[in-house]
Symmetry: C2
Subunit: 233 residues, 2 copies
Amino acid sequence: MTDQSAPTTAAGGEPATARGEQTRQLILETAMRMFRERGYARTTMRAIAQEAGVAVGNAYYYFGSKEHLIQEFYLRTQREHAAAARPVLDRESDFAARLSGVLHAAIDVLAPSHEFAASFFKVAAEPTSPLSPFSAETAAPREAAVALFAEVLAGSTAKVDPELRPQLPELLWLAYMGTVLYWVYDRSPGQARTRKLIDGAVPLIDRLVGLSRLRVLRPATRQVVDLIRTLRH
Amino acid sequence: MTDQSAPTTAAGGEPATARGEQTRQLILETAMRMFRERGYARTTMRAIAQEAGVAVGNAYYYFGSKEHLIQEFYLRTQREHAAAARPVLDRESDFAARLSGVLHAAIDVLAPSHEFAASFFKVAAEPTSPLSPFSAETAAPREAAVALFAEVLAGSTAKVDPELRPQLPELLWLAYMGTVLYWVYDRSPGQARTRKLIDGAVPLIDRLVGLSRLRVLRPATRQVVDLIRTLRH
DNA sequence: GGCAGAAGTTGAACGCGTTCAAGATGGCCG
DNA sequence: CGGCCATCTTGAACGCGTTCAACTTCTGCC
């Protein structure tokens, strides 16, 4: 009874006609605007539908759930982030400057959605949710983000332990996730604390990465690399 | 209109009579059992009330929301964890052994609730939620947990950089939070990966803590300490 | 043009967490 | 004993996310 390879029309899939695409976009824009204005929890599906001038069920034709509307936010943010990071990556060659630029760019992009992102985060945090940053469904944006950090490293003049180097992009992505986590919880005005976290953590990461080749630290470096390998299967 | 210092009777507060206490316990036991049996999402408040033989509203008299029932789970787990860690703390004096023992004890205690803990985690993750591990309402169990890691350090023979030492318990607690985070997402049978994470990370932490006094690492150590101080205000 | 079927659309209905006005209980004091 | 009041209990009702059978619109084909 379960549709295993069903050629289902939509609900997560893309619309097949121009009309569908238009409706989908309309609902999406309306939802995003309302999320930003009133927050996620206080924006009801009924309100979104009414504002967009469609029936409630129609929204569910294009988006499997209210949470799936957030998925779209996730994708957009990722694209915006990559774009915002571009100038820095084209200009700088110093590892710390590149990393700092990319992290600050992320917060720049996220800034207008801080309040809304909090509720969004709750949803993403559930491991069983398809929106989890570690889930299969979010693989595309996640890999794009990891690629961004691979570029941070590749375009830099940093000298890195050769064993650590291939693992570093994912570690940097993890640090990025940590930064976002901190940002979500950051209640300071303008999320100034997060800026301080970045400014403090980047030189530290920079130094540790540089030290990773040191004789005394090689065992520790190797330990880190082995641990990552073990956990990845 | 808002009750700012209201001497409200309950809904988060303690019952005032023996009868109340009894009802509260009954609801709590029923809820915990059902959460473990069916999971959080599929256990409805109506079902809890019916099983406990009370009205729905009665449950809300003692617990502000379905989420508040989880708060209780949080408290119990913390108590169990402290108890489970006791033997190790009384026996071992080696830092790595103590840390490993305390972390494994935590997973031991959490193990039976893995599925349920996932949904619980979703709730705890929301920054605005009173159940967030960083919120004021959870200060008591959090401080108890930090105290546990202070004891891990205090009772050990580890030599630590004197500047780092006072910050270390909270850092260890953070590592513990990270471990729990990993555990929540861990889908491997019996959460074996989390065990590997602990077994891999503990020697690493042990080594880094030991190295923190080294000449070459002092600047990095100081950087870490400064960063923590900055972020704490 | 007509028609089959895919694509898109509708809104009433379901079960959920939560609220609250109303009622029941029980201990304390005159 | 009688009445008062804090405490406790009730369950109908509300708004929410979500579902789905029925309906309409559009496209390709003869």
